[in-house]
Amino acid sequence: MAGHEPALELRPAAPEPPRLQRAEPLEGDAVRARQVQGEPEVGVAAFLDGIQESRVLAHWPGGVPVVHGTVAATIRRRRDRTLVAWRPEATRIERALFVPRAALGDIAWEALAAGCALRDTLESEDRGPWHPLDLTARALSAVQRRREAVEVQCAELWCAEGDGPLFVDGGIAGAGTAAHSPLAVGVVKSHRTLYVDGDTLPLVLGLGEGERTTLFTVTSPRRAPVASWYLRLRAPAAHDALWGLVRVEVALDGATTARADLVSRWLLAERAPVALPDPRWGAMAYGVRLTEEYLRAVTR
């Protein structure tokens, strides 16, 4: 099904500009650095991750890209130091053609729909003409939204029926009901948006290994507010200042200093084994890497 062209995710894309965004302190009156109290301890019961892959299969007349996308998410539960499938419905895999219906035309849409699942990459109010690259970018966004959607389905399932903390690769603010669950712990590895202002930036970048910031609130118009903090998993040494740094998200309700320390201890415990050879190993838990590998194995 996949074409010979590289995955869209691997193509150079116009980068989202990095930015600083001030966050409201939740633990004290200002964001500060502090040592995580206590030794690392094992607390995470399961890992949630999702993957996506999309390729342009063909170009319809008029330069309309026909993109095949695969999205998947799963929860891998830890049992006897080994990750195993939690339950069948906690592994979700979707494959579809992502095409702009308005650009394609109804006849072509119906013809394609007879053979496979289709997803429209345009909003109902979108009107052409469209730049072909814009259509490709919209397809990629649509795939990404589906990936986030299946991740949310899995997270909500765990938070409803699972037992124990769930390590979610990425934030939980957009994870529906999971954003309010005490079971979900979101771990964000990318930092294009840093939730600091100019005064606290040096403090975050200067966190030492095993140190965290105090809690602050992350809010977004279309997402649930969550409690968050930065945690330095590994000393950056010769790497850049963001290396080994994660931002943790938990439900706002119950977000106390003690809980932040407890969750931080869980995350510090997940530093071993290292997620090498993944280049993101400085901030990536091995459980996340295994979950990702599992998804790649079952989707190929």
């Binding site: 995470v44 130091r81 080994t82 084994p273 050879p277």
Partner: protein
Amino acid sequence: MPIGRVVATERKPNTPHEFHFWTALDAPVGIGTIVRVEGPPTSDGRLVTVYGVVVEGFSYTDLQTPLHDVLGADGDPAGAMRAPTDRTEIRLYTAHALRHVPDEPLQPVPMGSVHLASDADVAVALRMDGYLREGQRTAIPVGVYRSGAMQSPIYLDADFLLGPEAAHLNISGVSGLATKTSAVEWLLGSIFAHFPAQKGSVAAVCFNVKGPDLCFLDQPAVRLDDADRALYEAMGVPAEPFRDVEYFAPWTARGHALATLRSNEALAHNVHPLSWGLREVLQFAEVLLNKDDVDAKADALIDFIRERVVNQEFSDSLLERAHTVRSFADLEQWFRELLRGMEGRNAETWRTHHVATIRKVRNRLTNISTRCRGLVTDDGTSNDLPFGAFRDRAVYVIDVASSEEDAQDLIFARVVSQLREQLERRTLGVDHVVVFVDELNKYAPSDGPDTYVRQMLLDIAERGRYLGLVLFAAQQFRSQVHRRVVGNCGTALFGRMDMDELATPGYATLAPATRVKLSTLDKGQLMVRHPHFAQPVFVRFPRPAVLSGREGMERYPAEPEPMLEVAVTRSLRALDPSVTLEWVKQAIVAAPEDDVLRARNRTLQARPEDVKAYFRAQFRGRALPEQVAVRPSALPLAGAGSDDPYSF
């Protein structure tokens, strides 16, 4: 329930003969495990089943380099142990196909589910089903294949072990682990228990070449445990010693006792002397004479002596009288008179034989009785194996452990020749004979001179199966044995092997893991190759149900060579329990030791009804057999009953 899945990649593809599969980490699979692969139904509805044996195992994780693990543990091994998640690990096995069902078309092994082989699977996988069928059963248990809690008896096909389809068995293994001798003892017991009646009778001739290894085959083992007994029961072999065993050994150089460690009087009842006179030895003079000795001229003279001089009256103008040469002493007398006659006439040749050749042959032949003292008698008396009266399921042990190399060679050559001749004529008494020889690398080395014994072993290996003459041979280093000998052995057993030996080309076909397993086998474990088995399999066999050599020596210590009177008393008492030491002392008083021993030997050979009278008669001159009644021999000798008192 499947325990694995067949996998194949472009780099590691499956073939019709080799496939790969993965299992759970705790699956009961190891090197040597037999598995069954069930392939998915083909488009035409066929189900393909493939049986295989695991020959290699791999384990790896997703680590790209060990350095990553060091980094993850901050250089502290204990830190790695604290990791909350173990690295993903795989158990990947390589198996060699044993059998495809159906056989055709022979295709690469399908991507099927892998199961541990059941009892029935093992029989099919090793093609034993063909000879386990009721009514056509020719199965000989060789051991059990173990997998988890399952024990499956493994059988050899008698048609391929004892002929006529194939034959012979070779066993290799390092010394000191009691594997080679134990395996042969066990297998002989198994053969005796399971050799099918319709295939006739079978006996064994074992050459004990070192220590007391085979000296107690008729005595029960003391160390059989429940596990051993369970193995015997599983394979339907009685856990008991051999019921019918006879021992043979040459005399010691002094001649007072037999040269065997089975010298305890409690076990003397079935120990017999092995001694030969001129006639028996001259047939095999080539064994003791090297090529430099026996040139064409010498060979011609030896042939002349054998055909014209020995055992018949011979007259010649050079001789002072007619000679009837029956012993080495007679031969020496004949040579002496002949050479004297030639010197008297200043003759350089006699009947085309040059005087130098005559002197050389005299020297070499008369020397034999010295070189093989104890085995070869000067006086022509002979005690031999009961050729012509071999018994079904009997074991005849020839103890040559204390004999010189020349004597060992002579014994081997003559015994095997007799077996061969009599099997050809169907006069041996049994239809099949297993000849067990240890230290085969000594008798049939891969290099070195082409000896008579090696030629004989080659002959057995290549043609013995048609006659029922089967070679069971053992050695430490198979690579040092002549290729044609081991190559003709249909069945091969391997105990624990030396790594250096395993590095030789003969083992190149084995997978590295199989070689490593061979180098670490426990006592009681064997790897078996058999014509029906597409791949070697590992089996366990029980301890032999006979007393081991070491334990036998503790229970029945060897006795020191006795004084002459005591030795004679013991020998004669075996024929007549009323013989006492006092009687012997009186009977031999003032007689030279050589005469006493000669009298004893003649009495043992004749086995007279009146032992005392016959023995005494020896000191009054040569006794004629018709003067005394001869008792029926328990071990009748070939040709006995003729007028010739030296006949046998």
